[in-house]
Symmetry: C2
Subunit: 209 residues, 2 copies
Amino acid sequence: MALLMEHQFKQLPADKQVETRSFLESVSYLPPFFDCLGSTVFAPIKADIVGNITTIKAVFDSNPSRFKTLQKILEAEKELHGADWPKVGATLALMWLKRGLRFIQVLLQSLVDGEKDENNPNLIRVNCTKAYELALKKYHGWLVQKLFKAAVFAAPYKADFLKALSKGRKVKEEDCLDKIRQFLVNFTAANDAIYEMYTKMNAELDYTV
Amino acid sequence: MALLMEHQFKQLPADKQVETRSFLESVSYLPPFFDCLGSTVFAPIKADIVGNITTIKAVFDSNPSRFKTLQKILEAEKELHGADWPKVGATLALMWLKRGLRFIQVLLQSLVDGEKDENNPNLIRVNCTKAYELALKKYHGWLVQKLFKAAVFAAPYKADFLKALSKGRKVKEEDCLDKIRQFLVNFTAANDAIYEMYTKMNAELDYTV
Ligand SMILES: CCCCCCCCCCCCC/C=C/[C@@H](O)[C@H](CO[C@@H]1O[C@H](CO)[C@H](O)[C@H](OS(=O)(=O)O)[C@H]1O)NC(=O)CCCCCCCCCCC
Ligand SMILES: CCCCCCCCCCCCC/C=C/[C@@H](O)[C@H](CO[C@@H]1O[C@H](CO)[C@H](O)[C@H](OS(=O)(=O)O)[C@H]1O)NC(=O)CCCCCCCCCCC
């Protein structure tokens, strides 16, 4: 789990405000996650997520002290964009990014919880499908859902996926799962806080693509 | 057919050498073609083609007088990259780009030839499928082929497609088809010449993605 463990998310402070700089730093290590899935088919997904990060980073860089926390960005954009908000700017980018993060989170959680298809214990399709259903499906029209169903067949074997997450080093499966558990603590907390913020600020949209 | 007609490909000279500058200029108007297909699902395809064009343009811009024709680029890269060639540089980018161009070419040709599914004369699926089979299928593994099969359901109605190609202006279908016919003359000749060049220079690869 070198890939993820070397770049843990910061612990969430008591006021649950996510700091923009460290958040951007931590998520920038996630796109290679999609390379671990093994197929070039996932390149457009990776590109979409990289695009989200780039959008948020551009806003942050325009005024790092003003945009110290993610909430400051949403507040400023709400003010700035009026009726176009929240389907705009870093607010829109983070809206989608958090869904990709939740996909990753649920997938990893499902793996450490040992959920599996008893008939195909070496596959991670059930875990991907669960993650997709909880994180993304409702925001996808029938066509993208259909594409997902096809794409999930390209998901790697569990052993290969865990090995890729460990940057190809030989690690015992149990050790790897332990490290994923550790990673998930702050990662899940940060992402939950972002979801809460979208709800509280009425910034969540449910249109489909 | 404003979209395509305003940016005709140059007529091929007798020596069949395609000039890099005018080629790049003409193809740069093609990516919006994929917007005419109507769905965001085609965004990754557009991005792939834009990437090809960017790669070729970067090489050209590094020395416009040296890389006056596409063949000059292939020759220089063959020299430069040794055993890695042709799976490298602008040679690789153009190898894939020409397949995307052929897809567009066959699709448009099939439309002007009046090929249609008699049961669904308003759809362009048969034309897309023919174009896919002739231009791309053999370079795609089973998974991407499966994705194509799903994606083709997102193709627009023929009338909407032709309207989009005319930039939304009201044009009679017959006029639009006439303009496509005109566009196809130089476009097809240029692309055929590129295919021939790849064959002659032994630069064609048939690996699948
Ligand atoms: C020739 C062959 C033909 C083949 C046809 C190919 C068709 C390809 C279809 C590709 C779909 C790729 C996934 C991308 C989907 C995206 O459409 C959505 C919305 O994307 C958002 O859209 C916004 C505007 O509405 C802004 O532009 C956002 O951008 S902004 O920064 O400008 O604000 C952008 O992220 N993102 C998503 O759904 C997010 C997806 C995250 C995915 C997470 C993991 C899934 C893993 C699955 C593993 C089994
Ligand atoms: C959450 C939901 C999950 C959804 C899962 C989404 C899966 C998305 C799969 C997307 C496939 C998109 C199509 C792109 C395919 C590309 O993989 C291939 C090869 O692409 C080439 O690869 C080379 C290295 O081998 C270089 O990188 C080239 O790049 S280089 O510039 O670096 O040299 C690059 O173009 N291009 C292609 O096959 C070209 C495709 C042209 C397509 C033409 C039209 C088809 C239209 C169809 C209309 C009905």
